[in-house]
Symmetry: C2
């Protein structure tokens, strides 16, 4: 499985709007992407307007489907203007449950 951590910084004053837009985006991901296993937004307790999006995908095909999805295409133009800097993406392999 593929793990992703995406660091997001929102411009001051836009946290509530960003969170509302994200919640709708996440609901669409969970409802229409069978290959997505996790899509959670972590809000920092130490840095204002700072979030980390944690994502898990079954495989590369599931990640590609996410990136090409209509709901992401519809939501990017709404969230992108609220970001103070480009997202910083970190890729991981998720340890299988059985070893």
């Amino acid at each position: 499985m593929i793990g992703m951590m995406v660091e997001l910084t929102v411009t001051p004053g836009n946290a509530a709007t960003f969170e509302r837009l994200f919640a709708a985006q996440a609901a669409a991901v969970r409802a229409s992407e069978p290959g997505n296993r996790l899509y959670e937004l972590f809000r920092s307790r130490t840095l204002a307007d700072s979030y980390t999006l944690i994502e898990i995908y079954e495989d590369e095909a599931a990640l590609a489907a996410h990136r090409a999805s209509s709901h992401m295409a519809a939501n990017r133009p709404l969230t992108a203007p609220l970001l103070a800097a480009p997202p910083v993406m970190h890729m991981f392999d998720v340890l299988p449950h059985a070893l």
Copy 2:
């Protein structure tokens, strides 16, 4: 919900042992902690022997139950010697699904 990211660095040559021990620990967490929502180990694709443990707990009581659990008490002495440095812990609030 409470989100945690724990940065873990394993001493060279011990990754396979660490992963096997962790898989057993994670199985116990998933089987016996109703308040745990996520317990996944992300293996870095860029840094050798570098992992991030992603955890989600329903509330402080669930996190306290995890920390006091017999399976964590049994496993810490096995994994701790394999770490190259103390774990680095980051705490978050997890965005609710519905806003």
